[in-house]
């Protein structure tokens, strides 16, 4: 029996470290807490989690849970809460949680609060703090009812120490055959990239609509980025046209970058894109239209055909 269940995220038998930070919030909440992991072939992972001061590590291990499909994961998590009689389910703020925990909250008919940053207790009542209005304000929220689903922002809570006496590992009993099967796992696609993260890179090379297709984009924008050891970005138009994946998008919607060097290839410079690069130290623009607005913003501008200039640039950098 535990007051709180902390859902620990896995990436194929590996613990996702940020999800451990929710344990710190569980400790602040007080009362006994258990850790919950779902997946397949979890003996080793479970053993690595026994020293976090939990009352138990609860393991839902079944081939049906090998991939994180929201409908069956939600059913199993809800079942674990019922069996444990837990009042609080804690996850961390992540796409995994966004996908699965609202379903759990619905199954339990419990309120859900995302992105918890801190909690306060006074007169026996617990209030939570979370960001609102795009992070410009903090809301202080009180929840009704005796059960709740929370997600914690990993950055708001420290990583917990793993120095407690080992606890037991319990296998969760559930009917694997009766799980919902509305979703089927088809395949997993990952981009293996040794390029630096877009938001942290010192050099970012971005491309726009004139790159025409994903092949040109990868060869020219990706090629220049690799030559400079930089990350790759794209405009909304390039993403819309399917030249670059969604998470490359830089701008008002998309990522905000502030590298030391930003190279804009075939980017006209709409204000929506500039919103994402305005804090870059040096902006270099390559565009065939001398009137392109990007030149107003650029430190250095190069007027010409990117299909000629960029290969030359790549070659001379590689030689140099």
């Amino acid at each position: 029996m535990a007051e709180t269940l902390v859902l620990i995220e896995l990436d194929r038998q590996q613990v996702k470290r940020p999800s451990l930070h929710a344990i710190t919030l569980a400790r602040q909440l007080g009362g006994a807490y258990a850790l919950l992991i779902l997946g397949h072939g979890l003996d080793e992972v479970a053993a690595s989690l026994i020293s976090y001061g939990a009352s138990a590590v609860i393991v839902a291990d079944d081939s049906a849970l090998a991939e994180p499909l929201a409908d069956r994961y939600a059913a199993v998590i809800a079942e674990a809460i019922r069996q444990q009689g837990a009042k609080t389910l804690l996850g961390s703020s992540s796409t995994f949680s966004k996908d699965i925990l609202p379903r759990v909250a619905a199954l339990l008919d419990a309120p859900m609060l995302t992105d918890v940053l801190a909690l306060e207790k006074s007169d026996g009542a617990t209030t939570y703090r979370r960001p609102t209005n795009a992070g410009s304000m903090l809301a202080t929220v009180q929840l009704e009812g005796d059960r709740r689903v929370l997600t914690a922002r990993a950055t708001a809570f420290e990583a917990p120490a793993a120095d407690a006496a080992p606890c037991a590992i319990q296998q969760l009993k559930f009917d694997a055959g009766g799980l919902p099967n509305g979703m089927q796992f088809i395949s997993r696609e990952e981009r293996v990239s040794d390029r630096p993260d877009l938001t942290e890179a010192r050099v970012v090379v971005s491309g726009g609509r004139p790159l025409k297709d994903s092949e040109h984009f990868e060869r020219l924008v990706g090629g220049l980025a690799d030559a400079l050891g930089g990350a790759v970005g794209a405009t909304r138009a390039a993403v819309d046209a399917g030249m670059a994946p969604n998470d490359y998008q830089v701008g008002q919607t998309g990522k905000v970058v502030a590298p030391e060097l930003y190279i804009a290839i075939g980017i006209s410079g709409a204000i929506q894109h500039l919103a994402g690069i305005k804090d870059s130290r040096i902006i270099v623009a390559i565009n065939k239209d001398p009137d392109a607005p990007i030149f107003e913003m650029a430190t250095y501008g190069l007027v010409g055909d990117l299909h000629q200039i960029v290969p030359q640039l790549i070659e001379s950098i590689r030689k140099g």
Partner: protein
């Protein structure tokens, strides 16, 4: 054989009214009609009580405005007229229904009043008029049926009650004529007299030939009762079908508050303290007039046809907003957000096309704005638009740029400021877009250069200028808007500003229509009107030179909302330019670019971008230059044109840039 008419003959002509109806039947008739009118009144009263749950007021109080609007939008049906089957059939039904109702009422007055005037020339003309409009009425019904059966316009909506209504209206018309024909037949009216009741006479002389008088009399009695029962049933059922708008429509037309289209209603701190809310959360938070307006809707769908959000598949139809709120009202009210999704409210560009179309003057944008305010109050906005609001609050511009950089656009231009030229005539209000968006900065430069060329005595505020607050107000952050308005009004007062000129239609609208709500009164001009004046007075060269094919995208907040469509055309020399082409949707009936109502800061998948639709329309004109007169339209249309096949050849320019090009090319080299 037509007997010669004498004055005496004509004067004595009249007809029987209840000739065939026994006195006890007449009593039943009056009781029936009174009962159905009572049922009608009772139901309308029930609606009245529903309106009363709203916050008091919101009504126009000036009776002269009522009269004017009832004449223009009620009797003259200004908003209904257009070239469409729907408009034609409405004209027939409206005029038919109006004349027949008045005629029948007059007959009742003549019959039971102290003075019997139903004879002579009046009577003859009465019969003819009633027949003509009876035919119009029946024709209207038939056309409406045709439209429902074959030209099924989706935005109109279709259900069985519409067929029930149209059938009973048509049956009313047909039985009316049948009663007339049978009366002519059994009273054996002389042909010259019968001719005045043309339709009845035609039926009598073709279909009723050879029927004996007794049979005709019985048939008359049966048909008369059928007609009467239909009338009574129809009257009682008005409130449960589309016909309710004949009552609620005129009330809303008269009652809707009179204010400029581009002006939203201010929210006061007192109101918020009283209600604990910013905006509308419960249905009862709407003003009574707004609730009344919901009942005025007859679901014609014109708003939906004009809506850019509907056209791009966003989850918003202005009609559905009204109909959904009305359903909520009929269920006793409650949380509006249970009925109207947040995405629906955010989808609105506030282009006012729906408001402009609505024949009964419903204020869709006000409804949406009130509900948006509540969403903002509840912290329901996130992402880029929320960030834009935050930046208006912190940096005084939605782009989050340092306000000290406001004059970056003017580098090297030697633009006069309020410091260097304190005795300016015009304050050049640049606006955030033209100050910070590098594309729009070129517009500010072009405008300033034209002003300098023409010798306009102007100045800019520089870093003293801040966002007017327009995006904040449209998105629903009323107090952020008011904060900006107060600061700017103070600044403009301190600098003793009387005339303002701006290249941004949104700044223009807010400065002109909304700042007076907070005590800021200025003479505000869009740069198009000042440039047109300068051309007119010869202070700028009006040489046209050779131009490419050119078209104009009218900004909503300039053309539709503030009625300015001539100056923009004058600036690009449209009237004298054979190469000028209008888009199908132009002038006050322009189509949004997609940036209004704060949508500039929302992300949309390409299929939902209004600018792409509009770009196709512009490219189809064959124009090589798409001129516009708004920095947001410029941004949106540039993107739309660049992403649309055929757009590679088209330049998107502000009218000031088009004009400046002409000035430089016209000058001898």
């Amino acid at each position: 054989m037509v007997a010669p008419m004498t004055a005496l003959d004509v004067n004595s002509t009249t007809r029987e009214v209840f000739g065939n109806i026994a006195p006890w039947m007449q009593v039943v008739f009056f009781v029936m009609i009174a009962a159905s009118l009572a049922v009608l009144a009772w139901q309308v009263l029930a609606h009245f009580w529903q309106w009363r749950q709203g916050r008091p007021g919101g009504f126009e109080k000036d009776w002269r405005v009522w009269l004017e609007r009832l004449t223009v939008y009620g009797l003259a049906q200004k908003r209904v007229h257009k070239k469409s089957l729907g408009a034609l059939l409405h004209l027939l039904l409206f005029s038919g229904f109006l004349v027949l109702t008045i005629g029948t009422t007059l007959l009742g007055i003549a019959q039971d009043g102290p003075y019997y005037f139903h004879h002579g020339w009046y009577y003859l003309l009465y019969e003819l008029t009633m027949d003509v409009f009876g035919v119009a009425f029946c024709l209207g019904c038939l056309l409406a049926m045709y439209r429902r059966a074959f030209a099924r316009k989706p935005s109109l909506g279709h259900n069985w009650r519409d067929w029930w209504l149209l059938s009973s209206l048509l049956a009313l018309g047909i039985t009316g004529f049948a009663v007339e024909a049978l009366r002519l037949h059994y009273t054996q009216v002389q042909p010259w007299l019968a001719h005045w009741s043309t339709v009845g006479w035609l039926i009598d002389s073709t279909m009723l030939r050879g029927i004996d008088l007794g049979t005709a009399k019985t048939m008359h009695l049966v048909t008369w009762w059928l007609h009467t029962i239909l009338v009574a049933g129809f009257l009682a059922s008005i409130p449960v079908n589309r016909f309710l708008h004949v009552i609620t429509g005129p009330i809303n037309i008269a009652a809707r508050p009179q204010r400029p289209m581009g002006q939203l209603v201010p929210l006061t701190m007192e109101e918020v303290e009283q209600s604990g809310r910013t905006g509308v959360h419960e249905l009862a938070d709407f003003k009574q007039q707004q609730l009344l307006s919901l009942d005025a809707c007859m679901e014609c769908g014109r708003c939906e046809d004009a809506c850019p959000a509907t056209a791009t598949g966003k989850p918003l139809s202005p009609k559905a907003v009204v109909v959904d709120l009305r359903r909520l009202m009929s269920l006793g009210g409650g949380d509006v957000h249970q009925t109207i999704r947040d995405e629906t409210l955010w989808a609105c560009t506030m282009c006012q096309a729906c408001v402009q179309e609505c024949p009964v003057l419903i204020g869709h944008v006000d409804l949406i704005s009130d509900m948006r305010r509540d969403l903002i109050g509840e912290g329901k906005l996130s992402g880029p638009p929320a960030k834009a609001l935050q930046q208006i609050g912190n940096q005084f511009n939605p782009y989050g740029r340092a306000n000290a950089d406001r004059l970056a656009w003017a580098e090297g231009l030697d633009v006069p400021t309020v410091e260097t030229n304190p005795n300016f005539e015009y304050l050049f209000w640049v606006g955030c877009a033209a100050s910070f968006d590098p594309r729009a900065q070129k517009v500010a430069r072009a405008t300033a250069r034209l002003f300098m060329q023409a010798g306009v005595n102007f100045a800019v505020l520089g870093k003293e200028e801040t966002c007017t607050g327009d995006p904040a107000r449209r998105i629903g952050d009323e107090f952020l808007f008011q904060e900006r308005a107060q600061t700017n009004i103070e600044t403009l007062g301190r600098r003793q500003v009387k005339k303002i000129v701006t290249p941004c239609p949104h700044c223009h609208n807010t400065l002109k229509n909304e700042y007076p709500q907070f005590g800021g009164q200025y003479e505000v001009q869009h740069h198009s009107t000042l440039l047109a004046e300068l051309l007119n007075s010869g202070r700028l060269s009006n040489e046209l030179g050779e131009t490419d094919p050119i078209t104009l995208h009218d900004p909503c907040y300039l053309a539709r909302v503030n009625g300015e469509v001539d100056a923009t055309r004058a600036v690009i020399g449209a009237a004298r330019n054979e190469q000028f082409r209008e888009m199908p949707r132009c002038g006050k009936k322009t189509f949004c670019c997609g940036a209004g109502g704060g949508r500039m800061w929302f992300d949309e998948p390409p299929s939902e971008r209004v600018s792409n639709l509009r770009a196709q329309e512009a490219i189809a004109t064959g124009a090589r230059t798409l001129a516009t007169a708004c920095p947001f339209c410029l941004n949106m249309m540039s993107d739309g044109i660049a992403g649309t096949p055929g757009g590679e050849q088209v330049r998107v320019l502000d009218i000031a840039e088009v004009l400046l090009d002409r000035q430089t090319s016209a000058r001898p080299k």
